[in-house]
Point group: C2
């Protein structure tokens, strides 16, 4: 088995898209930044993410039947920071968020979000893996927005300026 | 429930780090590119990823007890393309890969890889979610390598040139 430090070193340089996850199972909304969101299946529409049990929002999140997964663009980096900062009231700026008719908080600056129903909560080491079905979506109106990536403790932008030119595949 | 097309549209713009996963449970090595690899827990060291059952390697991968997860850098984009291209022999260039003493194939250009034991295989829609424990690692010798990201059907580079400047958090 490798050590926790080796494991963290391996993943520190692995880039990840950034999402802000909100829920409100108990009348007190929560929001947390997650870099583990990934699409599992399109038909049925399934998405998964993991959250450390040490996260301040973990206990409330485990009780949620539905969540809103905001897929953040680079201009949403302030939302990513907000959801990753300890000890702040993430809902203090009441002009930034509203509630869906079903009650979940949404941050209106996010160009894409999914409302999803939690299907499975799987305990895995010091984290919980959530598998959810998409039940409602707001889709970006344009594909020209840059994406937001977290890597090596830093926020990054991906878009037209970061495209990699493909080399020719060399035959063996 | 949202449609598969809406779900795909939502995730098309969500950036993801890129990995090449190899295994050889049956004497015929497999390699496939995955953009769903994420760290779940550092202690114990747990990693998860999902693979579509439609992938040509899915059936062999389900039989694997161990896998090697190569976390790719931008200069490894040819490995990412190789593992994502249908109908090619991904092991044809015998100078590019070798075998660990435990038998798994490794592509030597990858600066970081984890050998991991499969703990759980979870059926989820048209995919299988794998949860694995890290048991051996090769770590990058330098943090100066750029990362590789997949977004909107395009490969991207993240590194010093893609850093986002942080705005000041505005109090509510």
């Amino acid at each position: 088995m490798i050590t926790p430090d080796e494991f963290k070193a391996a993943f520190r340089l692995h880039p990840a898209g950034v999402a802000l996850i909100t829920a409100d199972p108990s009348g007190t909304p929560i929001a947390l930044t997650a870099s583990s969101v990934s699409a599992v299946s399109a038909d049925p529409p399934l998405v998964m993410f993991s959250v450390s049990v040490q996260s301040s929002s973990a206990e409330v999140l485990r009780r949620a039947e539905t969540v809103v997964i905001h897929l953040l663009a680079s201009h949403n980096v302030d939302l990513a920071v907000l959801g990753a900062t300890s000890g702040v009231d993430r809902f203090a700026d009441t002009g930034r968020w509203s509630r869906l008719s079903t009650g979940e908080p949404v941050f209106d600056d996010a160009h894409t979000w999914l409302r999803a129903q939690v299907l499975h909560r799987i305990d895995a080491g010091g984290s919980t893996v959530f598998v959810c079905t998409g039940i409602q979506a707001r889709l970006a109106e344009t594909a020209s927005t840059d994406g937001l990536v977290y890597r090596n403790r830093t926020w990054h932008r991906v878009g037209a300026d970061s495209v990699v030119e493909l080399p020719q595949l060399v035959a063996g």
